[in-house]
């Protein structure tokens, strides 16, 4: 027992010192931490959103829209090819995951087969004897599109959130169609949710002047045109617009947008890239004195009349804006359009007040729990209880150090995990001490009793701790956010407590044995 190899001593002391070194920044004032030399670990435990306050949003990207758009692209291509070759067709459209079309006349079958064979290299094309054609995009092509849309969405979400000025947002992909957004310090995410809730596809389309809106409403809407509602309903503007379906210029070409004022009214100014400028110039030159609709997500912002060709590539969107809506629109245009709509699947927002209260309550519970356990251990085991308490103290220090070093997130349930560890960490020592008591009763000398106590208790300690560790791992793999934090502190606590309660107490007891050479064990 008295042999406690030097390397073990060094290890115990080193681990405790490293633990202190990493834990200390948590107790220093922030300003002080900034002045530390570079080699010192200055990281603090990173607090979860439930403790520091903030907003957690789980978003779903509606990727079905992406597939639908892809199929529409294909049918457009099919229409173009067949028309160009003057092949009669019917029933062109998409069903589920494919585009179908019927070739009317048998004489065209061979010709159309040749035409459509190369409509899209990523498609499976099946012709049947009756002249019906089925074009199905391959699985991998679809997945590639979906992945691309997801990546684009993440990028756009990041840009939009960055524009709002939120500090250190976390935006992560989750699964195949989800985005996890964490916004520290945001206690009212309504604006961000509103910003993320729009795809913000802006297009410029000509207003159809061939019929009045009321004629179109009561009668037939001309093919190639559609009726669209205004973005903001206001008294001066019409309730509906009749707009041509063809997109003249799309928002992809925008390179900048800013909210400004024109005649005292909030407006949004924009600028196109070179190709956008050219097209915008051409369209405006050819359509002077006609109204030009500016459309956002299929709603008309406004439809001003083109007074003169706009050749410089920049212009102004006026509409029924307030300063806030003009700012938001400019932000959305700058950040770009989402490839698919987003929905919020889950939201958890904690205000700074509750977070602060939770930290305070957690601290109080930890300190009181610690004191109770410490007192109880001294009552039950006397001097050995003090050894166990020293180990317990270092256990908590090392947990804090490990959390800081690993930058694991501490959540409210995580604090519960630490307090629980305080209660359970002494278990290993209890096992050892009880065993020592038994060995003493069997008549062993102090040194041999202590030695046997440690040896015999070891397998039990490992067995019982490993099973709890399994539970913690299951918890980690299942849990989201706060619960994960609980699993992490519990797991770290199990590992550190095994170290402190076996190695550290043994070290202390060896020192005591060497110094005192006792005749009996005070246990």
């Amino acid at each position: 027992m008295l042999q406690f190899p030097a390397w073990k001593m060094t290890l115990v002391v080193a681990v405790c010192l490293i633990g202190i070194l990493y834990a200390v920044p948590n107790f220093l004032k922030t300003e002080f931490g900034a002045n530390l030399p570079n080699f010192a670990p200055g990281k603090r435990v990173s607090l979860g959103l439930d403790l520091q306050g903030g907003s957690y949003l789980l978003l779903k990207v509606d990727l079905d829209v992406v597939i639908k758009e892809y199929l529409e692209e294909i049918s457009m291509e099919v229409r173009k090819k067949l028309r160009k070759a003057r092949v009669g067709y019917s029933k062109l459209g998409s069903t589920g995951a494919s585009v179908v079309v019927n070739i009317r006349q048998e004489k065209d079958f061979a010709k159309s087969k040749k035409l459509l064979d190369d409509v899209d290299p990523n498609c499976e094309i099946i012709f049947d004897a009756n002249g019906s054609v089925k074009i199905t995009p391959r699985e991998d092509a679809l997945n590639e599109r979906k992945l691309l849309a997801l990546q684009q969405s993440i990028e756009i979400v990041r840009r939009r959130i960055d524009e709002t000025g939120v500090r250190e947002p976390t935006i992560q992909r989750q699964g195949t169609d989800r985005i996890l957004v964490q916004l520290p310090g945001v206690d009212d995410p309504e604006r961000i949710k509103a910003l993320l809730g729009q795809t913000a596809k802006m297009v410029f389309r000509l207003v159809d002047m061939s019929k009045s809106v009321s004629e179109a409403v009561t009668g037939r809407v001309p093919s190639g045109s559609e009726l669209l509602a205004p973005l903001v309903e206001s008294a001066g503007d019409p309730a509906l617009y009749l707009v041509k379906k063809r997109v003249m210029v799309s928002g992809e070409h925008l390179i900048d947008a800013q909210a400004t004022f024109q005649d005292g009214q909030p407006v949004v100014s924009f600028r196109f890239d070179t190709s956008g400028s050219k097209r915008f110039g051409k369209v405006t030159s050819e359509n002077v004195n006609r109204p030009f609709a500016i459309i956002l997500d299929n709603k008309v912002i406004s439809a001003p009349v083109i007074r003169e060709p706009i050749l410089g590539g920049s212009g102004i969107i006026s509409g029924s804006f307030t300063v806030k809506t003009a700012n938001d629109l400019a932000l959305l245009l700058r950040a770009g359009a989402l490839p698919a709509p987003l929905t919020v699947l889950e939201e958890r927002t904690v205000g700074p007040g509750l977070g602060f209260d939770s930290i305070e309550a957690g601290k109080l519970a930890s300190v009181i729990g610690l004191c109770l356990v410490i007192v109880f251990m001294v009552i039950a085991y006397g001097l050995f209880g003090i050894f166990a308490n020293v180990a317990l103290f270092f256990n908590i220090v090392i947990i804090l150090g490990a959390l800081s070093a690993l930058q694991a997130t501490l959540t409210l349930p995580g604090i519960a995990g630490i307090v629980l560890t305080i209660g359970m960490a002494v278990d290993a020592n209890v096992l050892i001490f009880e065993r020592i008591r038994e060995e003493v009763l069997l008549g062993r000398t102090p040194i041999s009793a202590i030695d046997a106590g440690y040896k015999r208790a070891l397998t039990t300690i490992i067995d019982s701790n490993l099973t709890t560790l399994f539970a913690a791992i299951c918890l980690y793999s299942f849990g989201s956010g706060p619960i994960k934090g609980f699993a992490v502190t519990l797991a770290i606590g199990i590992l550190t407590s095994m170290f402190t309660s076996i190695m550290l107490t043994r070290f202390l007891i060896v020192l005591w044995l060497r110094g005192k050479r006792p005749n009996s064990v005070p246990i």
């Binding site: 958890r348 006397g382 067995d463 519990l490």
Partner: protein, 312 residues
């Protein structure tokens, strides 16, 4: 020097195993009432699993709950429950899942905030959509089953299969009765509850393993002794440790319950129950049940391991 106090005196000999029929009857009653509570009352699932909206608000003074209820009742949000939360100034608003998809839920949050206005501090807003709720439920069930399975396999590897059977019976007993308690008290069953159940599983098995370790050791030491004697001896020898660890863990848990804030209180309560039932089951269920499985004693030595005469 401080004189240590022995809470369980050395040489304690309580005949636990002889009381097994009483314990089995008690456990049967607990389990049957759990089944009854689960089927008749059901679990009060929180928004984590059911989907819905939860808001914690704080007013500048005492919150007037009937007034808030009046204000929200005209919004047509369906079932809205409002209760005081910890302090007189705080209230918890729970709103059932709205018909329709996630968009409708978002609209409901906005409506409530608009109606109640700025006089309240919105300390917490949680919303779980129907999709995520269903997923969390599934993940929770998988996690509990996975935990049970991995523990079962570990015990099986470290001990003989008979022990692993006893451990799982005891563990399921603890988990099931905890779920039953939640049904009886109609406490909210949420993610934190599942976390508590998994931790209870860890704790309970920890306790059982310690006693089993001693049983195994004594089985090797005292080959001629009757099984129930060996069991009684093993339980008594580990009794002091069992009590000590339960008490330190309970001290920590009570500290969370009383001082850790309202959010953790339910979690702590579940754990307190779990520690008590876990300790009880390791002594009264896990060990006596070993009498009824064909326990192997040493290499090829099958003598004296039969079920006692009166138990057959």
């Amino acid at each position: 020097m401080l004189k240590p106090v022995r809470f369980v005196p050395a040489g304690t000999k309580i005949r636990f195993v002889d009381k097994r029929r009483l314990a089995f009857a008690l456990s049967a009653i607990i389990l049957l009432s759990s089944v009854f509570c689960l089927t008749s009352l059901g679990l009060n699932f929180g928004i984590d699993f059911r989907g819905g909206i939860l808001m914690e608000i704080r007013g500048s003074g005492e919150v007037n709950i009937p007034q808030i209820r009046d204000k929200l009742s005209t919004l047509g949000l369906g079932e809205v429950s409002i209760q005081e939360f910890g302090k007189k100034t705080d209230a918890l608003i729970r709103i059932q899942r709205q018909d329709g998809a996630e968009k409708e839920q978002m609209a409901a949050i906005k409506k409530v905030k608009d109606r109640l206005g700025d006089i309240f501090d919105y300390r917490r807003t949680e919303f779980v959509g129907p999709t995520v709720g269903a997923e969390l439920k599934e993940a929770g069930i998988i996690a509990v089953c996975l935990a049970l399975l991995s523990i079962l396999i570990y015990i099986w590897l470290r001990f003989e299969w008979q022990f692993s059977l006893g451990a799982i019976v005891a563990l399921s007993h603890d988990i099931f009765s905890t779920i039953g308690l939640f049904a009886l008290l109609q406490y909210e069953f949420n993610l934190a509850t599942v976390a508590a159940i998994l931790t209870i599983a860890g704790y309970s098995i920890n306790d059982t393993v310690v006693v089993y370790d001693r049983v195994r050791e004594n089985l090797r030491k005292y080959r001629q002794l009757e099984l129930s004697e060996v069991f009684n001896m093993s339980i008594n020898e580990t009794l002091s440790r069992t009590m000590m660890t339960s008490v330190t863990t309970l001290l920590a848990l009570c500290s969370i319950y009383f001082f850790g804030g309202e959010v953790l209180a339910d979690f702590a309560l579940a754990m307190i129950w779990g520690v008590c039932i876990g300790t009880y089951s390791s002594i009264f269920i896990a060990v006596p049940i070993l009498l009824y499985v064909k326990l192997k004693r040493g290499e090829g030595d099958y003598s004296g391991l039969q079920v006692p005469e009166d138990e057959r």
